[in-house]
Symmetry: C2
Subunit: 211 residues, 2 copies
DNA sequence: TTATAGCCTACATAATTGTGTAGGTTTTTA
DNA sequence: TAAAAACCTACACAATTATGTAGGCTATAA
């Protein structure tokens, strides 16, 4: 039995969602709140399996509620609801730890399907949001031309700088002299068109993300 | 008419995919290649709307082909195919600019649906990959506690450092003395638990992503 | 009123980074 | 064989960053 909390201020949607939950086997709507100002206490109390959260609510909007919940360390599944396929807002929700999102105007089937999707380890999204997430996610890798010109050693050096190594530490790590390290660094900066370690590090991270 | 190129070495899949394309209105399979070593020339020649690419192929695997294509500046839609729901591999494909991916064992309906999905601006993925993408994507935002302790001014300073400003430049920009700037920097480094500009910059980028 | 927090500024000095110059070795390619 | 690429090392010195210490002002909360 999937325990669900709904945060939503629109009475029509609340009604229809309650009906839907009545008709859906395996799901139980344990509580409905019209705002999320006490979300942390609510979730601690009800221990839901999944939270359905309207993005637009008076007072604290769904995004803020989501942030509060995550900041408090709760990892419950949270599906965001919105009327519009507003990529920016939804995207921000995703960035703040949403488990997925659904359009309010989706058919009841789609809504139930989205919930099961999330429960089963998925991340329900509309195609356009999925694409935006992927596009942003992969974009840094597509500016990697400067990095492709780095020699193996230059790449080694940069990797250590990104990890916070000082020159001295990096030279010890690579078993080369600090003079050699500076030699590589100078060449690398020229290739990357930067003038300082922090610029090189910034550029590297933007382009590698997972370093 | 959607023009499709297939890169795939498995004869069975090629056959079934060709049949599927025969039966599907609006889609035309213009070419099939069993490896992607000449992908750049192939795509330049055929100008496909979408490429279906097997991840595992002898010689250059699909990932490498995808990288070559993106490195050459082509932005065609690319859906990756795999037998297994191998998150790491698919995830890497997504990071390198794939438009989505499909399981080879998907039903013909799902495959066609995935292609339409991508053509219509979506990013077909299985639920588990979607969740991994979202999880990794949102993770940095969940380690933002150190940044929440920064004062407004410290935040200003950090933003400029991230953008490559030197101390002198940042002081001019904020209209403060370099002494003041160093004061803020010292406090900020203590809060962020870093010891150098590049470490602060690295930490900031990992935690803000979109700066 | 006092304490706290945040911002501003300066000085002194040490440490680190950045740049130019020079020389050498090994491997690969034309 | 000569040239190019990559890696190694050193010196000299300039520029920037990092750290400790000190003093002051304003706004806010207790």
């Amino acid at each position: 039995m999937i325990r669900i909390i709904l945060f939503e201020d629109n009475p029509d949607f609340i009604d229809s969602f309650q009906e839907l939950m009545h008709e859906t086997k395996g799901m139980e709507l344990v509580a409905v709140y019209s705002n999320c100002k006490d979300i942390v206490h609510v979730v601690r109390h009800h221990q839901p399996d999944i939270i359905i959260m309207d993005i637009d609510m008076p007072g604290k909007n769904g995004l803020e509620g989501l942030r509060m919940l995550r900041a408090a360390g709760f990892t419950n599944l949270v599906i965001m609801l919105t009327v519009f396929d507003d990529n920016d807002r939804v995207f921000q929700a995703v960035c703040n730890g949403a488990s997925g999102y659904l359009l309010k105007l989706s058919s009841p089937d789609k809504i139930v399907e989205g919930i099961w999707d999330a429960i089963n380890g998925g991340a329900p999204m509309t195609p356009s949001v999925a694409k935006q997430v992927l596009k942003l996610f992969s974009a840094p890798f597509q500016k990697a031309n400067d990095f492709q010109t780095l020699t193996s050693r230059e790449h080694d050096v940069l990797s250590l700088l990104v990890r916070g190594f000082s020159y001295k530490m990096a030279a010890v790590e690579l078993e080369i002299s600090i003079e050699t390290l500076r030699f590589h660094i100078k060449n690398m900066y020229a290739k990357l068109h930067v003038n300082s370690k922090s610029e090189a590090v910034a550029k590297a991270i933007h382009n590698k993300l997972l370093e």
